[in-house]
């Protein structure tokens, strides 16, 4: 033990713990984009995305499987790019719909896989989409159309 001074040893402990803390913060807490980079990318056209934002979660049966990469306007419809984990296969007749968590919660994309034998490859397009439901629209409709 005589080769090392107390200062060296205690600073060593401090630095190891410090680096570990910073690494934990940026790797685990900040969760370095689990599905970013690799994975399957599919697109879907929605008449309206409502409150959906980039980075929102994509779920199948309530389980997060990816996130929204980008939302762009194309020919007056929203072109949404979804990044989905490699481990999940997306059948060709999957339906994508935009839902909110609870009545006022965050918007997310729900995928309902179909029964098709063929799976979508990266870059392909989801055939069927359901737009975001606007609660206010529904209320207005209900109020005005009541006999």
């Amino acid at each position: 033990m005589d080769e090392y001074t107390r200062t060296e040893i205690s600073v060593g402990f401090f630095v190891i713990a410090g680096v570990a803390a910073i690494a934990y913060l940026s790797l685990s807490i900040a969760g370095v984009q689990l599905f970013a980079g690799h994975g399957t990318t599919v697109t879907g056209r929605f008449a309206s995305v409502g409150e959906l934002k980039e980075g929102a979660t994509v779920k199948i049966a309530g389980v997060p499987v990816g996130n929204v990469r980008s939302i762009k306007l194309e020919r007056y419809a929203a072109e949404v790019e979804l990044g989905i984990a490699d481990t999940v296969a997306i059948p060709a007749d999957t339906i994508a719909s935009i839902r909110t968590e609870g009545l006022l919660g965050e918007a997310y994309v729900m995928l309902r896989p179909g029964g098709s034998e063929r799976n979508l490859a990266s870059g392909e397009r989801l055939g069927q989409t359901e737009s975001a439901v606007d609660i206010v629209d529904l209320i207005v409709k209900y109020a005005l159309e009541k006999p």
Binding site: T7, F14, A17, G18, A21, S26, S28, I29, G55, G105
Partner: protein, 264 residues
């Protein structure tokens, strides 16, 4: 009546002018000192052993106070947040509220203030003591670069150590908030951590680290500068200590606003 005496009414403006000039010169002196400190940070001979000693003093010895204050900060955040959010049934945002407040704002700022209070004041007092007992002159006589020996080593140590202390602050705060929230407020611990992981992004952590690096410069700069340029004996030591703590605290809070405005 050999020389024309300045009229009485000019004395006021004269004093004001001298004070202004002294203030401007003080700012200039500090800025030049910062430049000199940064330039010598990796100069030869590299004083690694001294840097280690300063890291131990600024870092290791601050861990206790940082953990203690972060525990209470995390607990008060979860208590206030729970009180406010439960009125709207939005407890799911409790985790992001606590974690983002800590990582983006409170962690860097409070850790820096604690380091200033504990280590910054001591640095100013130590160097001021060396100045008034002419030990700095003795260093110069021995051909030791006193700015490098006293200031640059501390600057390097602070830059290495303060971000780590900030990370300790963040993690201990989140852990305390989690423990307190689960055991006292009865929130769901799993949801709490999952919502934190969902909402905190790498850019948030980077903002916190950038802030803590800036604050580290403030701490090392002002406390060494105040000590190095101390005058007038025992009184000067006290003045250097007080001034450095006050100035760093103001700089940290003002710098935090500027950084937030720039990086948001």
């Amino acid at each position: 009546m050999g020389e024309a005496e300045a009229p009485r009414w000019l004395a006021g403006p004269g004093v004001a002018g001298r004070r202004t000039l002294a203030l401007v010169a003080g700012v200039g002196r500090s800025a030049l000192f910062l430049g000199a400190t940064l330039r010598r940070m990796f100069a030869r001979p590299f004083r690694g052993r001294l840097v280690l000693q300063h890291m131990r003093f600024i870092g290791n010895r601050s861990v206790g106070i940082v953990l203690l204050t972060s525990t209470f900060t995390g607990m008060v955040l979860v208590l206030q947040g729970h009180n406010a959010l439960s009125r709207f049934g939005s407890e799911i945002y409790l985790g992001p509220l606590v974690a983002l407040s800590l990582i983006r704002e409170l962690g860097p700022v409070l850790a820096a203030l604690m380091v200033t209070a504990r280590a910054g004041s001591a640095i100013a007092a130590t160097i001021a003591g060396m100045r008034v007992t002419e030990q700095i002159d003795a260093l110069e006589v021995m051909a030791v670069d006193s700015v490098q020996y006293l200031a640059s080593t501390r600057m390097l140590a602070a830059l290495l150590v303060v971000p780590m202390l900030t990370a300790f602050f963040n993690l201990a705060g989140i852990a305390a908030a989690h423990t307190f929230g689960v055991s006292v407020l009865g929130i769901d611990g799993g949801t709490f951590m999952a919502s934190i992981r969902d909402s905190v992004e790498l850019s948030d952590v980077n903002v916190g680290v950038a802030k803590s690096l800036l604050f580290a410069i403030f701490i090392a700069w002002v406390s060494t500068d105040q000590g190095y340029h101390a005058t007038r004996g025992a009184e000067g030591i006290g003045r250097a200590t007080t001034t450095s703590v006050v100035v760093v605290s103001v700089l940290v809070l003002a710098g935090d606003y500027v950084m937030t405005a720039l990086l948001l």
